[in-house]
């Protein structure tokens, strides 16, 4: 039971990050390897804002934490848009490889800046952990894990509704299908790409908040969840939104289950990536990826 909840909660975190990868890939046709570092920036903003506002002591802790989180979402959303405008937009016509290398560059740039501002020390902060635990019978579950699962599920439902049922969502789908045709139907492609980066980075901030209880804040915080979420997006079928969710949850559950079995615990990461390789061997387009028919 505890394993199930913890697995789902880690899975929800991976899924939220994987959504950012998959949406950006679907629309801008590029792999945004700086996505993991947006999570790191989000975590630092939450950390800084929380320690600052808690020390002021003028507000109840839940309120100042909430404000800190909202600020972090806003900062990361803007950061996402700025990264796209400054680093990726000028390369939109260039080869995909150029954009990929730039993304890796942006990733290291963000890590470097974070190290300059906050130093390389690991810091810890407990926000959701303050809520403590709940015991059902003889199992003890962290509230933070339950909140992660519930909020993660709500966000994903909202996202699917947003894409299926709103004009912006429809325009996003249209751009991902055929950018040129969408443009000629009067869709503002630049605005759609910006929106996509904004949504992806906003979701990443949620991942930061949920990730804080199980990690410490450091400039390389984003690297591991970033790469795992990318694997999750690929397992699910990159470009597919339900795929990212499925892949994320799958990877999270596998990780927690492996960690709980002492015989294989030290091989967890290896097992996860072996899973990636096996799934790709059997189904190269990922679990829910769309087959692209190539016309001859």
């Amino acid at each position: 039971m505890a394993i199930a909840i913890n697995g789902l909660s880690l899975g929800a975190i991976y899924a939220l990050i994987a959504l950012g990868y998959t949406m950006v890939y679907g629309i801008a046709k590029m792999l945004n390897f700086a996505h993991g570092d947006v999570i790191m920036v989000g975590a630092y903003i939450i950390y800084t804002m929380c320690t600052f506002t808690w020390n002021l002591g003028s507000m109840p802790i839940w309120l100042s934490s909430l404000i800190s989180f909202v600020v972090a979402v806003a900062v990361c959303t803007i950061l996402g848009i700025v990264i796209e405008k400054v680093a990726y937009k000028p390369l939109r016509g260039a080869s995909p490889l150029a954009a990929l290398i730039t993304a890796i560059g942006v990733s290291y740039l963000l890590q470097g800046i974070a190290q300059l501002i906050w130093g390389a020390d690991q810091r810890t902060i407990s926000i959701l952990d303050r809520l403590g635990t709940v015991s059902l019978g003889d199992v003890v579950i962290k509230w933070s894990a339950i909140i992660t699962v519930v909020v993660g599920a709500i966000i994903m439902v909202c996202l699917v509704l947003f894409i299926k049922r709103t004009r912006t969502g429809r325009a996003m789908l249209a751009v991902s299908e055929d950018k040129g045709a969408a443009q000629m139907m009067g869709v503002n492609v630049n605005a759609i790409v910006s929106t996509t980066f904004a949504i992806g980075s906003g979701l990443a901030t949620f991942a930061s908040l949920f990730y804080l209880p199980i990690t410490s804040v450091s400039p390389t915080l984003g690297a591991m969840p970033g790469i795992k979420a990318f694997a999750a997006a690929v397992i699910g079928g990159i470009g597919s939104i339900p795929g990212a969710m499925l892949g994320g949850v799958l990877l999270g559950v596998v990780e927690v289950v492996c960690n709980s079995i002492s015989a294989v615990a030290s091989y967890t990461t290896a097992i996860e990536f072996a899973l990636l390789i096996i799934i790709l061997l059997v189904r190269p387009i990922g679990l829910l990826g769309k087959k692209r028919r190539v016309k001859v």
Partner: protein
């Protein structure tokens, strides 16, 4: 109000040393159905690409309703009133038929709906969505596609996909619609139906039509005036019958 809805002045483009189109002067009156014909590689689609902002002309310029549109982006040109279809169909193939049309409706001012309104699903969001859906159905009705509205675009038969492309372009509320080989791959019955539809949308939606077509029977039934292109230059312009019977045109086409 300008005399001509579309006027190109000395429009031309070179790719490196290749002069793909030179000195194209085309004048189309409001409400006309105007044809552009010529052998493969004559520069017809290249002209469409210049008129829609895909290519920037190297010489000359063009005006829609007296307003110069050269140098504007594809999206701006669409907002100003030029919509198009594509030679090789470019529908959003994994979206339903009605959603394809709704993407076309995307930028009509009455359907503007802020990001926040949509995110928090305020009543306005539902009203706008309902109106868009209704509007899209009306457009599909004109094309006889209303029954298929929930099918995926890629599952439609070829002829209907061509019609859906026109419907989607029409949804952007253009003044001028550019049709790139609308009858290609259609059987005689579908072509006859297309003639009826093109005339109908011209009358009902107050449109002007510029089309590229190789089917000479189609061209002679529907087009009032023609421009015949060959090797990137205008061979002859004028009313359809005169153009099609011109010895130069016959020579260019048949090579006789």
């Amino acid at each position: 109000m300008a005399e001509y809805l579309l006027e190109t002045q000395d429009l031309g483009i070179s790719f490196g040393g290749l002069k793909a189109v030179q000195h194209a002067n085309i004048k189309i009156k409001k409400g006309q159905i105007y044809g552009m014909v010529g052998p493969n590689g004559a520069g017809k689609t290249t002209i469409f690409n210049m008129l829609t902002g895909v290519y920037l002309p190297t010489t000359g310029t063009f005006f829609l309703d007296g307003e110069e549109l050269k140098g504007k982006t594809q999206e701006q040109i669409n907002h100003k009133g030029i919509a198009r279809t594509f030679q090789n169909i470019r529908l959003f193939s994994n979206m339903s038929v009605i959603r394809n049309v709704m993407v076309g409706l995307h930028n009509q001012p009455q359907y503007k709906c802020s990001f926040l309104t949509s995110t928090f699903r305020l009543p306005k969001h539902f009203r706008v969505e309902r109106e868009m859906r209704e509007h899209a159905r009306e457009i599909l009705r004109v094309f006889g596609l209303e029954e298929e509205r929930n099918a995926l675009a890629c599952n439609l038969p070829y002829g209907q996909q061509r019609k859906l492309e026109i419907a989607r372009a029409l949804a952007t509320n253009p003044k001028l619609i550019l049709l790139d080989e609308p009858a290609a791959g259609m059987n005689p019955q579908e072509t006859a139906d297309l003639v009826r539809i093109v005339k109908k949308i011209r009358d009902e939606f107050d449109l002007t039509v510029l089309l590229i077509e190789h089917d000479m029977k189609f061209v002679s039934t529907i087009c009032e005036e023609l421009t015949v292109l060959n090797f990137g230059t205008v061979l002859i312009q004028g009313d359809t019958e005169t153009c099609l019977n011109d010895p130069e045109v016959i020579k260019a086409y048949i090579g006789g």
